[in-house]
Amino acid sequence: MIFILIFGFLGTRCAAPKEELKTYPKDYVHSLTEINLEKVFHENRGLKVMEENATTVHDYYRGGVQEKEEGERLMKESGWGESRVHLEKSNRFFRVVLKHLPEDEAYRNIYGNQVVIFLPNLLIADNDLKLVTVYKNLKNDNRATEASADGQRYVAESLKSVKTEWAYQIKKGFEDALPKK
């Protein structure tokens, strides 16, 4: 016996968005209550995306978020080595996304009226900020410096497309994380 589960039918016939996406002025700063990490985690939970099964850009995005959540969970338990593996894997997923969709979007309409927070650049920057701490704990200062430099580039890239309080918080995090020259 097999079970065949099809998602579709009426939605397949009518793919036009039911709701217009809200637009924001260019310099609008999305607050932390509006866009934050917990919301991103929540939107991407569910069936675990395996690297070998990822086929669409959105699979890679979800996979990146899921690896990030796991990496952060392990980080809280001071599992630095394991945390590093997941955060680096998360970044690999997001870099695949950026090859196809290089710009962050506060809200991306992915299908019909299904809208998600879509910030691959910012999520890499956030991973890098956390990797700075991870590498420091693993006594790998060179990698910490590299992660900081990379992360600052990604946060700048994110801010070119979308302004969020979260991004400014990460930017400040990088400034505070490494000693000033």
Binding site: I2, L5, F9, L47
Partner: protein, 78 residues
């Protein structure tokens, strides 16, 4: 599985297209759990409850490829 559709629309659609299999209503919880970000999507789940196949586009259910795939899955060892 139909996401965020009205029951009366589903009943009408089922009648119009002579669909005998059940159509379940989903308030987006199931599609989110399965990571469905585009439609149509089809999942093949074996007797152990494992997802053994996934298709991200419309399919001709009467095609040889599809029949072969289903027959192959049905032959899986118990």
């Amino acid at each position: 599985m139909a996401t965020k559709e009205k029951e009366k629309d589903l009943i009408k659609y089922k009648k119009e297209h002579h669909i005998s299999s059940p159509i379940l209503e989903d308030d987006a919880g199931v599609s989110t759990a399965y990571g469905v970000w585009s439609r149509p999507q089809t999942f093949f789940i074996n007797r152990e409850g494992k997802i053994v196949g996934r298709v991200l586009k419309e399919m001709d259910w009467t095609s040889k490829n599809m029949k072969d795939l289903i027959e192959y899955l049905l032959k899986e060892k118990k």
